[in-house]
């Protein structure tokens, strides 16, 4: 931690004018509109000059609150550009810590940040990037209480499969081909006898399935409810018995 602190202090000394150290401020100060209009103009000049943009649009952006959920490979560039563009209040949500294996693609985290909560690592860099905006770290999993006063939420979390493969709970995720491709196999006179189609009795088709190994059924419920389509399609949760029970 001391090493990281020294590293960031070095960055401050090199890059930030005295009195505007984002570290000692524990974040950054809101833009005071009267302060240094020329600096404001310089900072945003390359977007103010765009035909589709204007001073009114820039002010509206400064009044906006955006929550970036996830400070990884997607959240890093998203939060970087939103901070640079001048979104007035930016929240960064991540409950993980920086790992050395993250660094090659998660550009808000540097080597001295390894072991540090990602939300804090990201926010300290964003404070250097744009000290004129308010940037808040949330070292927690996303929850609805974070939506208070937020205009826009950007979901930059892992894909479902990535997330639960990393926790070691997801063994496999499979989509099934259309049911017309299914075959029925029996053994007749010691040889396989194959007919087309699934069981005639089947009233519903399974489109895909996931193999999970979790500590409890409650945990399995949580994971099932986290599937991207779970808000519109029910997910059937089905405990698997030991191999020996397969003969039943």
């Amino acid at each position: 931690m001391n090493e990281r602190r020294a590293f960031l202090k070095g960055l401050v000394a090199a890059a930030v004018p005295k009195g505007s150290d984002p570290l000692t401020q524990g974040g950054s100060d809101p833009l005071t509109p009267a302060a240094a209009p020329d600096a404001w103009l310089e900072r945003y000049s390359r977007q103010l000059v765009l035909p589709q943009w204007s001073e009114a649009a820039q002010r509206a952006l400064e009044d906006a609150s955006v929550l970036v959920v996830g400070a990884g490979a997607l959240g890093s560039p998203v939060a970087t550009y939103l901070a640079g563009a001048g979104v007035g209040r930016l929240g960064v949500v991540d409950d993980g810590d920086v790992e050395v294996s993250n660094l090659h693609r998660q550009h808000l985290h540097f080597t001295p940040d390894v072991g540090v909560p990602k939300a804090h690592s990201a926010v300290s860099k964003l404070g250097f990037l744009n000290p004129e905006i308010v940037i808040e770290p949330y070292q927690a999993a996303f929850n609805d209480a974070m939506l208070e006063g937020i205009d826009l939420v950007v979901d930059c979390t892992d894909a479902f499969a990535t997330r639960y493969r990393e926790t070691g709970e997801l063994f496999g995720a499979y989509g099934l081909a259309d049911a017309v491709n299914a075959k029925l196999v029996r053994r007749v006179d010691g040889a396989p006898a194959v007919t087309d189609g699934p069981y005639l009795e089947a009233k519903e088709y399974i489109a895909s399935f996931w193999l999970l190994d979790c500590e409890s059924e409650e945990r399995a419920r949580q994971i099932a409810a986290d599937l991207p389509h779970a808000h519109e399609q029910p997910v059937e949760l089905w405990p698997i018995l030991h191999e020996a029970a397969a003969d039943l």
Binding site: L41, E42, S45, R46, L48, V49, P51, S54, E55, A56
Partner: protein, 65 residues
């Protein structure tokens, strides 16, 4: 009258554009430009944005579209 003689490109056009945004369509803005690059760029950028532009020496008159 907007004086941008102390500015360099592209801030010359940035300032001019922001002043134009404050005007109603049909209103005119007089801009005092520095000699050189800006005197080419500012009238061209204003014309590209669809405004009417007249240049008289270092004085550029832009009528907001």
């Amino acid at each position: 009258m907007l004086d941008i003689t102390e500015l360099t490109c592209p801030m010359t056009w940035v300032r001019t554009k922001l002043e134009l945004e404050k005007l109603a369509p049909g209103e005119a803005l007089e801009v005092r430009c520095p000699e050189g690059e800006a005197l080419e760029n500012v009238p061209r950028s204003a014309a590209d944005a669809g405004h009417d532009v007249q240049v008289n020496g270092a004085l550029v008159t832009i009528v907001r579209r």
